[in-house]
Structure formats: structure tokens, C-alpha cells
Symmetry: C2
Subunit: 119 residues, 2 copies
């Protein structure tokens, strides 16, 4: 891992910790969901060991809701436990449903990845 | 893996075969290099078991040079062994060097990922 670099290996994303706004570790990235045509990472599928009582063990969150923080050597997010509890229902095919995608991005206040330009 | 879907899991990209223009398997994707800010996959790092005598065991190639082909259940590329042999020299830090990136994308006739819009 080269924390000061602009790029990151997919192998270093998977398993990397995610911290809340205060810097407390809340979970990690299990894998990513990639849009094949644009090559853009659409979602990080997060596993939350730290948040108890969630309905799912894994949650897809928009990539745009995560920021790599070199001081943490991990990702930082403003997503809260309550947001996860209230997230739009999802299944394994959720990301094929643009309606679900719009609801989910709005829920997490993330930019729609399919409308983002180059950077 | 859901081959007809628009999206793919990073876990399904890694280890997925790559075929040449004729559909012959030439190698596989080892991992991806992701631009942290845009969330765009910049390079697939390919391992080539089929091409003998290459100088490296792994080659970074622009994501744009690969197309997922549902009939192959893998990626198809027009990249040739000769192109790999003649690829701009690279090191582990090559993707931090925009000059190398420009040369490499030009070499493989791929669009610059940093100039690509949404799809």
C-alpha cells in the first residue's frame, strides 16, 4: 500500500478498514461493485462488525460516500448506523435497478456515479 | 457472477480470464489499480501464463483495452504479444507518472481514463 498515491490496488481496498467521522473503526470493505462499461467503482460492499443489530451483515454503499484518509490508512465516511438501518431494502440484484440506485445514492447523499465526469 | 449484468464484483474480476481477439485464452486479471478520487479502474494488472518469454510476469494494461464478453465469461482484448513486448517500461510506481500513463494508453490505443466522462 502506498498511502500517498493517487491510486490504490483492488487488493488493498478489500479488507481495508472504514472509520466513522470521528475516526473510530466501524467495519471494512469486503469487495467492490464495478460498472463494466465505465470501469467505475459504483459501490463498496461493507461488512460491519462494529455496528450491532443491523439487519444485514453486508451493506452496499456508494463509493462516493467513502474518502481514503492517509492518516487513518483506511477510508473515512460520514455514514451513520442510523443511515444503514434506514437504507433502501436491497437484494443481490439491487444494482441492476436504477430506481434502487437513485434512492440509495440519495439516501447516503452521494453523487450518482453514472453522472460523474472525469474526476 | 451475473454475466448479463452491467456491473461485476471485484472478486469476480480478479482471476477472470482474458482472451485475445480470436477468443483464445491468454491470461487472467490478477488485480486492478483504482484511481482513488474518481473511483475509476485505471489498470488491470494481467498475468500471462500463455505468452512465453515476456520480460515481466505481470503487465498493467488500461482498463479501457478490455471488454467483458458474456459469451466467453471473461474479458476480450485486442492487445497482442508484440504490444506487450514493446510496452513502455514500468515499475511499481509507474501509475504515479502521468507521462508514463500517457505513453502506455497511447501504446495500447486506449482512451485516457482521466479524460473519460460518465460512460
Amino acid at each position: 500500500m502506498h498511502p500517498n498515491h493517487n491510486v490504490i490496488s483492488s487488493e488493498d481496498v478489500q479488507g481495508t478498514k472504514i472509520c466513522d467521522a470521528a475516526g473510530k473503526e466501524i467495519g471494512e470493505i469486503d469487495h467492490m461493485i464495478i460498472d463494466k462499461v465505465s470501469g467505475r467503482v459504483a459501490y463498496a460492499v461493507m461488512s460491519f462488525g462494529g455496528f450491532m443489530g443491523l439487519g444485514h451483515s453486508h451493506y452496499p454503499v456508494p463509493w462516493d460516500a467513502l474518502k481514503y484518509d492517509t492518516s487513518l490508512q483506511g477510508f473515512r465516511t460520514n455514514i451513520t448506523e442510523q443511515q444503514l438501518r434506514e437504507a433502501p431494502e436491497f437484494s443481490d440484484d439491487a444494482w441492476e435497478d436504477r430506481n434502487w440506485e437513485v434512492k440509495t445514492h440519495s439516501h447516503y447523499r452521494a453523487s450518482y456515479y453514472w453522472e460523474m465526469g472525469a474526476h
